[in-house]
């Protein structure tokens, strides 16, 4: 009997401990059931034998106390669950009624908004996101519409957060990025929490210019420092105004909910920043990738000659060439293939490389890989799956930039930077420094090589090909007097008959310093305007007073 009693006690204790340790894996109902079972076991455990010399009344009373004690233990276990182990989930639990009314913890307003959230500033110190004290809370504001959406949105009472506001939340709220000891002391003394500031590589004035150049067009512009991977321009159109998503008062949220719904219902998806989350067919800009793969593998050299007599038949399908500058010439070099964007030449190069090597080098270049960045980046792909490239037609299409390839503008800019950075692909970044409330830099981001898929020899040959396309080819519009400029345009046919216009390029005094990727979505401006935008923003970047760093 005493064995059973002790065993029941031990089991009850084990059950409660287990239930509390694995609280995040069990539902409320399962926990309540475990609690009930543990209570029954504890009741069994109260049947301990009491000395018979104690009067019956007293023994009965001792048992009653033990039973009452079991109930207090059950209540205490439940309190530990609610107040400690499951407290985060309970604290943040939110539900939305069918009519749009939101039930959420009203403390989120007073706790999140009582933090003086850190500021976000651009490379010149211009304010991108800041806070303003209003009574007991801090109101978040993004003064510059051209950079606001890069910071993301921050709406703790309604829609949570996105962008840098989300990925750097711990630093912005002061949960990290400042002196840990000071943080603990502030917390203990209930002092208002102060967030750390972010310093970006972004240049507000260049960003503003990119927005002006984009105008009403749908698309994206990314400009990157080729040596570091620091992003100077990160423009997307259409975008959103985070000031209208933020609300300091749960009860007065009509403006925010109305604006949010208009964003969600907009078919152009303004909430989706195209520069990092947009995926597009790259068109002829992708010929640079095919060239890089071919040269790296030793399959081609810039002066190798291919036949292009206006068309080629692959697997019975006729591919027509429209890009030859001289329709009487049938032999063209790879260099001329890039300069004049000859599809027939690149279809043959693709076939010469072969599916296996093409796919392998593609993975080395970062296709199908998660790009480490301050914001989430959509994964670029060569094809939906490797098997899709087994057909010669598909491989040929891919080689000149059609087929199932999808790339993000950020990734195209990274590839372009790699060609002029001796084959080293830099990890892109927007946040360069974290600064605590006393102005001390607590974290400095150092440029890092993400991967080195091609040799510096290959890289400089592709760089030459792109310079050639500007000097003696179809990208002459990109030329800027007095600078080294290279580039490649692209027109990507999409399923619905419209076409995306692309430009990738770079600029420098003697050595290329900045790379750009521009995409204009189907129908919104021709290839000429993509080149113009790319050229103008590159020129502004190289001549901006801050270009020294």
């Amino acid at each position: 009997m005493s064995v059973i009693v002790s065993l029941a006690g031990v089991c009850a204790f084990a059950l409660l401990t287990g239930g509390l340790v694995f609280a995040d894996r069990i539902s409320d109902a399962q926990w309540l059931f475990a609690l009930g079972v543990a209570w029954l076991l504890m009741l069994v455990a109260t049947r301990i034998s009491l000395p018979t010399r104690i009067p019956t009344f007293n023994r009965t009373l001792i048992r009653t106390s033990l039973v009452i004690a079991t109930v207090f233990i059950v209540i205490s276990a439940q309190l530990v669950r609610i107040q400690i182990v499951a407290s985060d989930a309970t604290y943040n639990r939110t539900t939305v009624a069918p009519d749009g009314e939101i039930m959420g913890n009203p403390r989120l307003a007073t706790s999140e908004l009582s933090i003086q959230r850190g500021e976000i500033r651009d490379r010149n110190g211009d304010l991108i996101a800041g806070t303003e004290q209003q009574g007991e809370i801090y109101v978040r504001a993004w003064p510059d519409p051209s950079t606001a959406y890069v910071a993301g949105y921050y709406s703790p009472l309604l829609y949570g957060s996105a962008g840098l506001e989300a990925t750097w939340n711990a630093e912005l709220t002061g949960d990290s990025g400042n002196d840990p000891l000071e943080r603990v002391i502030n917390n203990l003394l209930n002092r208002p929490q102060q967030g750390a500031d972010l310093r970006l590589t972004l240049d507000s004035s260049l960003q503003q210019e990119a927005m002006n150049l984009l105008g009403d067009s749908t698309g994206a512009v990314v400009v990157m420092d080729v040596d570091t991977g620091g992003v100077h321009v990160f423009a997307s159109n259409p975008n959103f105004d985070p000031n209208q998503i933020f609300t300091p008062d749960r009860t007065a949220n009509e403006r925010a909910t109305g604006y949010w719904e208009s964003l969600v219902e907009n078919p152009d998806a303004p909430l989706l920043p195209r520069a990092n989350l947009g995926l597009f067919t790259p068109g002829s800009t992708f010929k640079t990738v095919t060239a890089a793969i071919g040269i790296e593998l030793g399959v081609i050299e810039p002066d190798d000659v291919y036949e292009d007599s206006g068309q080629i038949t692959i697997d019975g399908r006729v591919l027509v060439e429209n890009n030859r500058p001289d329709e009487t010439r049938d032999l063209w070099t790879v260099r001329e293939g890039i300069a004049w964007s000859l599809n027939v030449v690149f279809a043959q190069i693709g076939l010469d490389i072969g599916t296996e090597d093409y796919w392998r080098l593609g993975e080395d270049l970062g296709f199908g890989q998660q790009i480490p960045f301050d914001l989430p980046v959509a994964e670029s792909q060569l094809a939906n799956n490797r098997g899709a490239l087994d057909r010669d037609n598909a491989l040929a299409d891919t080689a000149f930039g059609q087929g199932e390839i999808l790339v993000s503008p950020l990734f195209m800019c990274m590839l372009t930077s790699m060609y002029v950075n001796d084959g080293a692909m830099m990890q892109p970044y927007l946040v360069s420094q974290v600064v605590d409330e006393h102005g001390n830099v607590t974290q400095s981001i150092r440029p890092q090589v993400w991967r080195s898929p091609i040799s510096s020899q290959t890289a400089s040959e592709v760089e030459e090909l792109m310079i050639g396309a500007v000097n003696n080819g179809s990208v002459a519009r990109a030329q800027v007097e007095g600078y080294v400029v290279g580039g490649k345009t692209g027109t990507a046919e999409t399923g619905d008959g419209s076409a995306h216009s692309w430009f990738i390029g770079f600029i420098g005094m003697d050595e290329p310093r900045y790379a750009v990727a521009v995409v204009l979505e189907g129908g919104s401006g021709g290839p000429a305007s993509a080149v113009t935008i790319g050229r103008d923003i590159l020129y502004s970047t190289i001549t901006s007073p801050d270009s020294g760093n």
Binding site: L35, L79, I82, S87, T90, R93, N105
Partner: protein, 441 residues
């Protein structure tokens, strides 16, 4: 009897009363200073605390002068719980007043109730001996039963409750609103103690019909009536809290008087079946059960209160936000049913566990008083009174943390409410008096 009046120092009690007295002063200063963020204070800010500290310390002193030789731990425990409650109400007062003007006198009224309650406790202890209270409580046991039934019947006829609840909880007499169940819980215990003591032998025996042994049926009829009365409290008055409390206390006393767990088991099973029936029959009970199991099914209406309570408890963590630094006033009825959640938010898990521990200590202390008592009636009375405090705590806190459905009863000594404070202090007064009676060796 001369030795009875010889003064005594009661040093243990004095030392144990110092923490609640200091808590009163420190806590009140926190409440006043935290919102302003300043350290400037005036004596007028803490006169309430000084009055409380003076009252409890003075009470201990007069007990000593009077030669009172009862328990020295019960009063400090009660005082600590009471001051936590008073501080919480003082702290909620400005927030609740900002919410609704009807709360504008909340803190003053609670202070008045508390002071009157302490006076009731003091008078009970000082006068119970000379008046021979135990004798007439025992002798007029059926009168107490009649008083109980009459009060419940009156509640049924002229009682009112919170708008829309369908419950009948209060009787209004002029400007005063009384909650009869708070009185009934004590008169009922007095009756049960007298009745069970009379029939103790018989209840412990059994009838034999052939080979089957049965409980002594005629003596169980009043027990059946008690069972029915509890259920009627539930169904007719819709006062689940009081019904549960009456029944739990009754079963405990029956168990203690008879020594037979079978009564408890039969009682529990039949009561559970009846409650199950009520759940199926009455939609309002069904809503209550749904709120218990998943308040998120209806987060804006019936589930609103438990969800707000969960938010408050979860924001407390281990140490709590600190007095006057949380936002427990989001919970409807935070000053009564949900005051435990307010403690959880501002004093954290340490605070809630400390409060629970104090209630458990009080229970154990009360049971110890019962064990030491000589007379059977007094023993049962002490058990009954103590289990009122224990079960009332379990029922309301269990409801707040949702291990059982929520029932609207008060957390003893802590929740806002005059009837509750007064009756609970009277209860403690009786318990203290019992502890001073001649003891078993």
């Amino acid at each position: 009897m001369r030795t009875f009046y010889r003064p005594t120092l009661r040093l243990t009690e004095f030392y144990l009363l110092l923490p609640p007295a200091l808590l009163a002063i420190v806590g009140m200063l926190m409440i006043f200073l935290v919102p302003t963020g300043q350290v400037a204070w005036a004596w007028s800010d803490i006169w309430v605390s000084l009055a409380f500290a003076g009252a409890v310390l003075g009470m201990g002193l007069t007990f000593g002068i009077r030669g009172f030789r009862g328990d020295q731990v019960i009063l400090p425990l009660t005082a600590t719980l009471a001051i936590i409650g008073l501080l919480m109400i003082q702290r909620l007062h400005p927030d609740l007043t900002a919410l609704n003007a009807r709360y504008s006198t909340l803190a003053q009224r609670q202070l008045l109730f508390l002071m009157v309650g302490l006076a009731v406790l003091w008078l009970t202890v000082m006068l119970a001996g000379p008046l021979g209270v135990m004798n007439w409580l025992k002798r007029y046991k059926y009168t107490w039963l009649l008083v109980s039934l009459a009060l419940q019947a009156a509640t049924f006829v002229i009682g009112t409750g919170p708008p829309g609840s369908g419950a009948k909880l209060w009787i209004t007499v002029g400007p005063i609103q009384v909650q009869p169940s708070e009185i009934v819980k004590i008169t009922l215990v007095i009756f049960l103690a007298g009745y069970l003591e009379d029939k103790r032998e018989l209840l412990g025996s059994s009838w034999r019909i052939g080979r089957v042994s049965l409980p002594p049926i005629p003596y169980l009829i009043p027990m059946g009536l008690m069972w029915a009365a509890s259920l009627l409290t539930l169904v007719v008055l819709n006062d689940l809290g009081a019904a549960l409390l009456f029944f739990a206390v009754f079963l405990t006393m029956l168990y203690l008087a008879s020594g037979k767990p079978v009564y408890v088991i039969v009682g529990l099973v039949t009561f559970a079946l009846a409650c199950f029936g009520a759940w199926r029959a009455f939609s309002r009970v069904e809503v209550r059960v749904q709120n218990w199991l998943n308040p998120w099914q209806d987060p804006f209406v019936s589930g609103y209160q438990p969800i707000q309570s969960d938010y408050a408890l979860s924001s407390g963590g281990i140490l709590g936000t600190g007095f006057a630094q949380g936002n427990p006033w989001y919970i409807p009825a935070v000053e009564t049913d949900y005051i435990f959640s307010a403690i959880g938010e501002e004093l954290g898990l340490l605070g809630t566990l400390a409060v629970l521990a104090m209630f458990f200590l009080l229970t154990v202390r009360g049971f110890t008083v019962a064990m030491r008592a000589q007379d059977g009636f007094v023993q049962l009375l002490a058990v009954g009174l103590t289990s009122i405090v224990a079960f009332q705590t379990i029922i309301i806190v269990g409801g707040v943390v949702r291990i059982i459905p929520l029932t609207g009863i008060t957390l003893p000594f802590i929740s806002y409410g005059g009837s509750s404070l007064l009756s609970n202090f009277a209860l403690i007064g009786l318990l203290l008096h019992i502890s001073s009676l001649p003891k078993r060796v």
